[in-house]
């Protein structure tokens, strides 16, 4: 009797557990950047769940480096999420390793209705196109440009922001005073590239598939910033660390007259110091006007359990009304042409300021990632040499050619 009862109880418990599972919601796992968990996106997700009864969205937020660690481990365990955001460069890398799926069938079915790719800026589509197939849909498109404190420039006798390297260096010197830096450089790797591009340099040549950062143009650009720190004393050495927020914090506190940043810092500056009188200027011009492009794309892992539902969520998250609402609330710039043409966006001087530099911005890792040659060792080799110039006052001409040689050796690994 006791045995029979035990059997019945076990069967009931098993049925309850499995029954509950089959009746419970399906889960769509989404990895997103913690800083981009905008209210507007949370509302989209809430609506998605309401429109799809039986579905839950597990919206997991990470900083990019942590997400990278997590996703590599997930790929190893064949347990990736259904939808994944990336900071640029991961789409070509993962596509070449067959870890994410081409979105062709979805774009064929829905592209016309959602305006993809016709309504997306060309650069945002090409950066996610590998061997003719699209693997990611860009959700944010950004560029970094000159951001300046109007009051500090005005005190130093400037009514307008600098437009050339000479003016920039001059403004930085004249706005420097005890407790205030004319320009606060960023320690993160990409932030030296506006100067490199403006001087006609680059770090990788797509034609020869070689690193080229030992060129005189790149040397000159790195030395330009090194001289501002060590000769002019108009810029501090960048605060060492793995985050990129140091200059923004100095700027927000009114302790830096100029920084180079993108729309990701708009919200922090606005909320950190609402009284700050600041503006966004076009990128300065050396040999040419240029800056860096960035942005976030969404992709679907090859082993995703629910790719169709992930695509449904992509369509909603990249809708133009969501883009406009997110931009107005959080200051982020977006990849749709209709977003840029929206009158509300045009009326916002900060957003339209950042919108302007999208036209001449270039992604630092786009070419090297598409060639499948990006590696952190190559990046660190270049960055190590840059750091010696910026932190120790070493000569760029002495260090960069040798570092370039080592980086080219690493490319063959």
């Amino acid at each position: 009797m006791l045995r029979k009862n035990l059997k019945v109880t076990l069967l009931a418990a098993t049925a309850a557990v499995f029954g509950m599972n089959s009746a419970s919601a399906e889960t769509l796992r989404v990895y997103f950047n913690a800083g981009h968990a905008y209210e507007t996106y949370l509302e989209v997700i809430e609506q998605f769940e309401a429109d799809n009864p039986g579905w839950d969205v597990a919206f997991e937020k990470f900083q990019w480096p942590d997400m990278r660690t997590k996703i590599v481990a997930d790929f190893a365990a064949s347990n990736p999420p259904d939808l994944l955001a990336e900071p640029g460069g991961w789409v070509p890398e993962f596509a070449q390793k067959s870890l994410i799926m081409p979105l062709t069938k979805y774009i064929d079915a829905d592209g016309k209705d959602m305006g993809f790719p016709s309504d997306w800026q060309d650069g945002s589509v090409t950066r996610n196109t590998i061997n003719g197939e699209v693997y990611g849909v860009q959700i944010h498109q950004t560029c970094a440009t000159l951001v300046y404190n109007k009051d500090l420039l005005s005190e130093a006798g400037y009514d307008a922001p600098p437009t050339t390297w000479e003016e920039f260096r001059d403004v930085a010197k004249k706005t420097s005073k005890p407790g205030v830096f004319g320009f606060a450089p960023n320690p993160s790797f990409g932030y030296i590239f506006p100067f490199i591009y403006q001087n006609g340099g680059d770090w990788y040549d797509a034609e020869t598939k070689q690193m080229t950062f030992g060129s005189p143009e790149t040397q000159e650009a790195v030395q330009f910033l090194g001289d501002m720190i060590h000769k002019d004393k108009s810029a501090p050495p960048p605060v060492a660390g793995s985050d990129y927020e140091g200059p923004q914090r100095l700027f927000t506190a009114g302790r830096a007259a100029m920084i180079i940043t993108g729309p990701w810092d708009v919200n922090a500056i606005r909320t950190g110091n609402p009284d700050l009188n600041w503006g966004v200027a076009p990128s300065i011009t050396g040999e040419k006007q240029a800056t860096i492009a960035g942005g976030v794309s969404l992709m679907i892992p090859k082993d995703a359990k629910h790719p169709d539902m992930a695509w449904e969520l992509i369509k909603r998250l990249t809708a133009v009304d969501v883009e406009v609402a997110s931009a107005l609330q959080y200051g982020m710039t977006m990849p749709r042409k209709s977003w840029l043409a929206n009158p509300q966006i045009g009326a916002d001087p900060i957003l339209s300021g950042f919108g302007e530099c999208l036209a001449y911005a270039k992604g630092v890792n786009d070419e090297i990632s598409h060639a499948g040659l990006y590696s952190s060792a190559v990046e660190e080799t270049f960055k190590g040499a840059i750091d010696e110039v910026l932190y120790s006052g070493a000569s760029a001409a002495d260090l960069l050619p040798d570092a370039e040689k080592e980086a080219n050796r690493l490319l063959t690994r």
């Binding site: 990278r68 660690t69 870890l99 060492a240 952190s376 060792a377 960055k383």
Partner: protein, 292 residues
């Protein structure tokens, strides 16, 4: 079945969970890592091919690996030696008649129980060149503020300082326990023979603490050779890769570059190096000391 056989089987049965645990979580991963280190590409995730010893040969050519290995050795040896010297001094003082010694012990031990992330971020904030407490203090004293973490020749030593702050409490506590285990009659006999306090410390305390020193040197050194949290959280390995410790290099090779074969080789090389360093420590510090 004989009694002896039964006893042996029982022993193995009792050991089985531990053997299983070590096989699954230690021996297994080490073997998998060695297997992966002989392959190129992405073993375990994607495509990979047998590469023989190519990955190990690459370590010999990898300048960043060499730089990170040197930084790691400086960091590990510096942190271990300074931690043990401070801990020995503090434990000698705190084992004597000191007022409020329990409170002092608690204060010294406190950093050890603080989460490493919290400790690292706290120090990063203290060392901030523009708003940090340390530079504010220097300015208050009329001294020049310093770029603590922005100087490639200094940043690693700052990290050593933070690690000493973190670990000295643990080592002190272990030393105090060891000192309390030394029989009083040894000191009494020496005093009768006219020994002064410095003689007691040099000729009794220090030699009898050798097993403890060996234990601490091995444990603290291994932890420091594997350090990743401090450079990851405080400096990102910079400036100029001066704080790029070996584990950070392995981590970035594996997770940023997806070069799992080479990262496994780097990791296995570190495993062998830790074994070697531990063996050297045993050779140098092991003494068969009995005080009864």
């Amino acid at each position: 079945m004989t009694y002896r056989t039964r006893r042996t089987l029982t022993a193995y049965a009792l050991l089985a969970p531990a053997i299983l645990y070590f096989s699954v979580y230690f021996a297994g991963p080490i073997l998998i890592e060695f297997w992966a280190s002989l392959r190129s590409g992405q073993p375990m995730i994607g495509q990979s091919e047998f590469a023989g010893l190519d990955n190990y040969a690459e370590i010999l050519r990898d300048r960043l690996a060499h730089k990170s290995m040197v930084a790691t050795l400086v960091y590990a040896i510096g942190s271990t030696v300074i931690t043990l010297v401070f801990a020995l001094g503090l434990s000698a003082i705190l084992s004597g008649p000191v007022r409020a010694k329990n409170t002092i012990r608690a204060i010294i031990f406190f950093p050890y129980i603080v989460s490493f992330v919290i400790g690292a971020l706290m120090w990063k904030s203290i060392l901030d060149p523009y708003s940090g407490l340390l530079n504010s203090g220097l300015l208050y004293l009329g001294l020049e503020p310093q770029n603590w973490l922005a100087d490639p020749s200094r940043a690693l030593y700052v990290l050593i300082g933070v690690s000493v702050w973190k670990d000295v409490g643990y080592a002190t506590l272990i030393y105090i326990a060891a000192i309390q285990g030394i029989p009083d009659q040894l000191y009494d006999a020496a005093r009768i023979d006219g020994a002064k306090p410095r003689h007691l410390f040099r000729d009794i305390t220090l030699p009898l603490l050798m097993p403890t020193t060996l234990f601490l040197a091995v444990v603290v050194m291994i932890a420091h050779l594997q350090e990743i949290s401090l450079p990851y959280l405080m400096t990102g390995g910079g400036p100029a890769n001066s704080t790029r410790l070996y584990s950070l290099h392995v981590y970035e090779t594996a997770f940023k570059d997806f070069d799992l074969g080479y990262a496994s080789a780097l990791s296995f090389a570190m495993f062998v190096m830790i074994l070697l360093i531990t063996w050297i420590q045993f050779k140098l510090l092991h003494r068969d000391i009995r005080h009864t």
